[in-house]
Every structure is written in structure tokens, then in C-alpha cells.
Subunit: 367 residues, 2 copies
């Protein structure tokens, strides 16, 4: 089950004469990035990646030998990789984002599909694809990885891939799926000791984790509007009831999609913490952060007025869950930056924190 | 399995000399109620009710004969009932609520516990208790019922109890648990034809239904802050993807707790509907309503500025999920009325809709 990156991507031709446009935003702005989007997914991978995944899962269903890393012969040219991220780069340019923390498609992690061996191969492929993008566009993308989780399997088994993506690929964070069962929620809560071996490694490597579910295999939960938001909400409640951060004081979690329902129901969570004789939520906010993937102005406004500015990290989840243009505004739903720009009650220092400084602190970024 | 109400409550002594205070709010204000709270639960039932439930479930666990209605001999005096709702009445007086749509404790419905026979007995007891409260305090409480749902059992089997509570007990609405499995979400989505026999009766009786989950038996989902809010959110997404209301144009659903995450993520849901080529959300709002159980001012404000006023029904969920006093404001978290009172952008007509007229329309109230 070992394979060098060279083997994995064999057959890739160099393409020096490339004319596809990168977006040297950082080059144009010497110094550090001004706007860091911490939540972008590589949803536009070359078609061959999807085909491989289909074949891999079909092989499991048919009881064939699980695909091993040794047998993977995905071939892409650098041009194909470049081509595949042009939409991301276009959005960066148009919206004024300097750099995106870029991770594999959350919905495609599919930890509930196949088995642990399948997940190991699939995670390596997805993480290596992210690494190639980051290598081709070092100014535009910084890597965040997925883990080879599998329902009922100890997260301890993800430690190897975590170490690889941080130490070998230079990734700055990782996405943890709090429900590897795919919206059946069959594994223990993220505050259970079941997860501790993974947290030990995360703390040792000093990278934050986004708690991001993957696709749903439960017809009750549509993915991007059901399972995602429900998942964000319920993991916050798990954390509220737990002493996890006493055991891991430096562990840092980001809850995506604006924290699910949490900012909207901040009073409920404050009150529940109080009724349960738990510490005030401000304690939790020493370790828990929210991104700004909320796709309308009143939602962003509520968030910025409710959650401390130090706990809010700019993100737009491109190219992601919602792809359309709002006919009422003429803007993309997921163009969250323009809402933050428009908030007159924010100081320049606040905006600097949301757009960059908080991300630098939480992800220990050098940009 | 038949039993008259007289038998069920046998042994109750009349208590004409009662000194406990009712709250004749309507008598003090001739004419129609000004403030209708559509979401109150009878969480303060006499202790004997809880004891019965424990014994009933213990009997199922021990494999004893399931308790049948014939064997139920719960005895309460009217005084005990009166005593048990004094906290509700106090909150009504203090906050200026005229009348509460009053239903059995949602968390205690516990459809995942026991079996169908258990649920039938338990639902009848809970609904009859509500009826007694409403009979004793006709100006303060109007009945809303629970159903004898059970995981994997057709909702068709709830039709009899639904008919009884509406036709015999005069209830104006019903709570449907969209997840009778107790946070395992094993039954079909609420838009599935599985549920249609129940909807047919609901439409025939012309009562609305609140989609309200019960307790969680899944350690991933705490109840009032996890499962409730996640459930509210996911049922909205189920409705968004469905043509249910084409089949039942007069069916009316209330999503409690401010609609879970929905108003906060209104842009996401608008965008998802658009991406999925579904009708705009305004179509859905012909049949879907939200209550105001959101426990902080920015949340209430976002809701009132995002959701059309005609779709918002005043509620506070007393005595309910959050019971404490916010030390920052000195007010109860669940005192939602004061936030609505404070919204200067609302017209008097808007407030009249939220506090009363919308409830009258949706629940066909005479008050």
C-alpha cells in the first residue's frame, strides 16, 4: 500500500508553454495576503478522477479486489490540472480574494462508501491532487486535506495520512468528517475518546481541523442544505457539553457554513450552557471558529454582530454548494466577501481580522 | 383498546373551592386575543404522569404485557392539574400573552421508545391531560395534540387519534414527529407517500401540523440544541425538494424554533432551490410557517427581516427548552415577546399578524 507521488501521477507531461492564466494576486500585492478564503473545495477535478472513483466503488460492490495504490494509474498533465482550476482563479480575481485554503470536495470524501482500504486510496489521490494544484499555483492555493476515515474504524488509522499531508505535502489543516456513516450518525460523537488518537496527532502537528460532513446516504438528509447544516449545528452542541478542550487546550476546530444554525440560535446555546451548568460559550470560543459561508446579507450581519470577530474566518465555499447568481442582486449567492465589505459597522481592524489575521492565527499561516 | 375519558381520569375530585389563580386575560380584554403563543408544552405535568411512563416503558423492557388503556388508572384532582400549570399562567401574565396553543411535552413523546401499543396509550394520556388543562382554563390554553407514532409503523395508524383529538377534544392542531426513530432518521422523509394517509386526514380536518421531533436516542444529537434544530432544518430541505404541496395544497406546516437554521441560511436555500430548478421559496411559503422561538434579539431581527411577516407566528416554547434568565439582560432567554415588541421597523399591522392574525389564519382559531 505504498506508492510514491511520482508513481501516482506518472505520465504527466510538463507543459511549459502553457497560456492558461494564473492569478498572481500576491505578486501584484507584495507582502502578505489581504484576503484569505479558508474554505474552498476542488469540485472541478478532471473527469478522470470521478471515473476512477466510480470504478473503485464498483469494484467494492462487485467484490473484486479492492483497488490498491499500486494499481492506480491516474494520469494528468499539468495543463489538465491548470484547466480545472480556472473557475476558482476567476472567482479569486473577480472578488478580490488573494489565496484559498483548498481541500478535496467535501461531498466526495464519501467515507461511508467502500471500506477503509478504499478510503485510504481515495484520500491519497484527492490529497495529492490538491498538492499538485498548490504546487502549480503557490500564490493562490494552500492545501488542506481529507482523511481516510471509515465508519466504525478508529480515527487512529488516519494518523499516517494526516502526518503525510502536513509533513510531506505542507498542508496547513485537515477536514474531519464528524459522521463517517453518511448521515446515519453511527460513530461516537466527536467529543468521545474514540477520536482522541487523531486529536493527539493534530495537536502535535499544530494544525486546525474543519469539522465538515461529507455526502448523505440517508434520504432524510439532502447534502448541502440538510446534512451539512444539521451536522454543523449538532457538532457545536456536542462540543458545548464536553470537556474536550480541557484535554486538548490547543486543539482548534472550524465549524463551516457559518456554524450551521449556531449564530442564529446563539441565545438558545447560551441558555442551554447555563441550564446545563457548563462554562459560558466564550470559553468554547477559545477553540472553536466559524467561517462566513452564509449566503445572504442579513445572515452575515447577524453573524458579525453575534460571534466575536476573533472567531470569524472569511470563506465562501467556492466552487461549491450553491453555484447560481441571485436574480435579485445580480451577484453570486456565494460571493460572501461583498457582504463583509458592505458592513459599515466593522472597523478596518475587524475586517483585517476576518479576511486574514484570524486565518493566519488559526492556521499558523506564513502568508 | 377503547376507554372513555371518564374512565381514564376516574377518581378526580371536583375542587370548587380552589384558590389557585387562573389568568383571565381574555376576560380582562373583551374581544379577541391580542397575543397568541402557538408553541407551549405541558412540561410541568404532575409527577404521577412521569411515573406512569417509566412503569410503562419498564414493562415493555421486561417483556411484560404492554399496558393497555383499560388498565390505566391515573388519578388527578383538578387542583393538581391547576397547580401544575401555574408557571405557564405566570409567564402569560408577566409577558402579556393571552393564550397558548398547548401541546404535550415534545421531548417526552418518545415515539422511539416502547412500541406502537405503548405509543397509543401514552398519546391518549398526554392528549387527555392537555384537554383537561384547556377545559379548566379555556381562556388561557387551546389544545394541540401528539400522535401515537412508532418507528416503521405507517402514519395511517395515527388517523384515529388525530380524529379523536380534533373532533372530540376540540384541538386545533397536531405535532408530527418527522423522525419517530429518535434521531436515527430511519423512517422515510416527511415528503414520502408513507406519510400521505396522515396528511389526507389532516387536510380533511383542516388543522395545521407542527413538525417537531422528540427526544434523541442517538448520542450524537443532544435534544433541545442538537436534534431539534437539526430536525427543523432538514425537514425544510425535504420540503424544498418535494412537490408535496401540489398533492396537498391546503396542508399547513409550522417549523418550530424559528425554522432551525433556515432563516439564517435563507440565501443558501434560495440558491439551492434555484440550482435544483425548484420553484422559488415563496411558493413553499404558501404552506410553511415558522415560529419565533429564537432566544436572542439579533436572531429575531434576522427572522423578521428575512421571512415574510405573514409566515411568522409568535411563540416562546414555554416552559421549555431553555429555562434560565440571561444575566446580561436580566430577562428570561425564552421571553421572545419583548424582542418583537422592541422591533421599531415593524408596523402595528405587522405585529398584529405575528402576535395573532397569522395564528388565527393558520390554525383557524376563533379567539
Amino acid at each position: 500500500m505504498t506508492m510514491s507521488r511520482r508513481e501516482l501521477i506518472k505520465g504527466i507531461g510538463a507543459s511549459a508553454a502553457l497560456t492558461l492564466t494564473g492569478a498572481p494576486a500576491l505578486a501584484q500585492q507584495p507582502g502578505r495576503a489581504k484576503v484569505i478564503d479558508i474554505h474552498g473545495h476542488y469540485t472541478t477535478v478532471p473527469q478522470a478522477v470521478r471515473q476512477f472513483r466510480e470504478q473503485q466503488l464498483a469494484a467494492v460492490r462487485n467484490g473484486s479486489q479492492t483497488t490498491t495504490l499500486e494499481r492506480v494509474t491516474l494520469r494528468f498533465s499539468d495543463d489538465q490540472i491548470r484547466e480545472s482550476v480556472q473557475e476558482q482563479l476567476k472567482f479569486q480575481r473577480e472578488r478580490g480574494t488573494d489565496v484559498t485554503l483548498f481541500s478535496p470536495t467535501a461531498g466526495a470524501m464519501g467515507h461511508h462508501l467502500g471500506n477503509e482500504a478504499t478510503s485510504i486510496v481515495w484520500s491519497r489521490i484527492c490529497n495529492d491532487m490538491i498538492h499538485r494544484v498548490c504546487t502549480l499555483y503557490p500564490n493562490n492555493f494552500i492545501g488542506v486535506g481529507q482523511l481516510p476515515q471509515s465508519p466504525g474504524v478508529s480515527p487512529r488509522n488516519c494518523v499516517g495520512e494526516l502526518e503525510r499531508i502536513v509533513k510531506e505535502l505542507g498542508f496547513v489543516g485537515v477536514n474531519i468528517n464528524p459522521d463517517p456513516s453518511g448521515a446515519h450518525w453511527r460513530d461516537p460523537p466527536i467529543t468521545d475518546r474514540f477520536w482522541y488518537p487523531l486529536y493527539e496527532k493534530i495537536v502535535e502537528l499544530d494544525v486546525p481541523a474543519m469539522l465538515h460532513v461529507s455526502a448523505s446516504s440517508n434520504p432524510n438528509f439532502q447534502g448541502t442544505g440538510g446534512h451539512y447544516i444539521a451536522g454543523d449545528t449538532t457538532v457545536f452542541m456536542q462540543l458545548l457539553m464536553s470537556d474536550l478542550f480541557k484535554d486538548f487546550p490547543t486543539l482548534r476546530f472550524i465549524i463551516p457554513h457559518g456554524g450551521g444554525a449556531v449564530p442564529f440560535h446563539w441565545g438558545r446555546y447560551r441558555g442551554l450552557a447555563q441550564d446545563m451548568k457548563r462554562p459560558p460559550l466564550t470559553e468554547l470560543l477559545k477553540n472553536v471558529y466559524f467561517d462566513t459561508c452564509v449566503y445572504h446579507r442579513p445572515g452575515i450581519e447577524l453573524m458579525l454582530k453575534t460571534i466575536p470577530i476573533d472567531n470569524i474566518l472569511f470563506a465562501s465555499e467556492i466552487v461549491g454548494a450553491v453555484r447560481g447568481v441571485d436574480p435579485e442582486s445580480g451577484h453570486y449567492y456565494d460571493d460572501t466577501k461583498r457582504h463583509i465589505d458592505a458592513m459599515t459597522f466593522l472597523s478596518d481592524a475587524d475586517r483585517q481580522k476576518i479576511f486574514a489575521d484570524n486565518a493566519r492565527r488559526v492556521y499558523k499561516l506564513k502568508v
